[in-house]
Amino acid sequence: MSSVKLIPTGEMTLGPFFPREFAQGANDLTLLDGRQAPGEVIEVSGRITQLDGRPLDNVVVEIWQADSRGRYDAPGFAGWGRAATDADGLYRFRTIKPGAVEGRLAHIDFLLLYSGLMRHLQTVMYFEPGADPVLDAVPAARRELLVAKKTATGWRFDIRLRGEGETPFFDD
């Protein structure tokens, strides 16, 4: 078995016609099988823009996070969600505030899929700055771009794909 070494399939863009029904209906992580997940319910939202500043419609945003106690794939909380941006470039999740994972600050992993993105982009949202091996991999001047802003209704995490204030993205 270990002698086989296959090369991962080449990634290609989602394109402009990802079915709407796929992109909708999975942006509320607080309920699983009709049950409320334990922890603090929060809203995470933000605007996604491109180089010329234009907000992007129908960007597919997927997230992965720990539960309120910092556990992945724990009973009662699936930790995975998907949303699509609206015509104003806004995505919105209703979720549980994650607890700190061993060795990491509390965070949410983000993955973006869109027409014009040949491969998916990955980034991370934090609730506050601090020592974290992934945040430490970002040049100091850009770290604040990964820290969400607290608002009256939740947490705001805007994403700039390219250009001024470009969000730091990770290769892996």
Partner: protein, 229 residues
């Protein structure tokens, strides 16, 4: 740990001829981060969040979609060739005239009332996913100088961990438009490119009246589980 992506077998971010890539792919180089439990874990059963939908896009009898009937056999494996039974896979493609069921599609081609081009499937034993559908058509890309997309089928699938996510497109053999497609040719290595093209199998091996295509999807990761650092 997962191996780094090989730039020769993965597409470049900014692709000449595909204008949106220059607006959307980051200008800064992608950052390398140490793998932690977050990236090397993933939802054990995504079906709890995304329900499987449809298993046959071609239909039957009076409800049969227009176009050439095809039977697709795709196998989902990891880099060791180990099958990923139970993994979720989303499939979508346009109809035989090159039209998607999507409000963004402005192509002047007819809809087919008997074709709905989206399915969500679960890989069975051996990582096998089978789909009965029709061969998609080619279509022109708006606001370009004559770029036509060759017939292709979109896939979105999950491996065992967050870093295994794969979104890609499958092409058909013998299509002249494969030579000029900016998306397929964004993969520089010819062997890697050829692996994105399905294989036409002997027709006697398949169901009646359908062309059988086989394909392999290789997600990142090795062995039964990705090892933590």
């Amino acid at each position: 740990m997962l191996a780094r992506r090989d730039p020769a077998t993965q597409p470049e971010g900014v692709v000449a001829g595909y204008a949106q890539t220059a607006q959307r792919w980051p200008a800064e180089p992608l950052l390398r981060r140490p793998p932690t439990r977050s990236e090397l874990s993933g939802p054990a059963d995504l079906r709890r969040r995304l329900a499987p939908l449809r298993g046959d896009l071609a239909g039957q009898g009076a409800k049969r979609a227009l176009g050439q009937l095809i039977h697709l056999r795709a196998r989902v494996v990891d880099e060791d060739g180990a099958p990923l039974a139970g993994t979720l896979l989303e499939v979508w493609h346009c109809n035989a005239a090159g039209k998607y069921i999507h409000p963004n599609d402005t192509n002047d081609a007819p809809a087919d009332p008997n074709f709905y081009g989206a399915a969500r499937l679960v890989a069975g034993d051996g990582g096998l996913v089978e789909l009965r559908t029709i061969k998609p058509g080619a279509y022109p890309v708006p606001e370009t100088r004559g770029w036509w997309r060759p017939p292709h089928i979109h896939f979105s699938l999950w491996g065992r961990v967050w870093l295994s996510r794969l979104v890609t497109q499958m092409f058909f053999p013998g299509e002249p438009l494969n030579q000029t497609d900016y998306i397929l040719n964004a993969i520089k290595d010819p062997a890697a490119r050829s692996r994105s093209i399905a294989r036409l199998m002997p027709t006697e091996r398949g169901p009646a009246n359908a062309l059988v295509y086989e394909y392999q999807l290789v997600v990142r990761g090795r062995g039964a589980t990705a090892s933590l650092p």
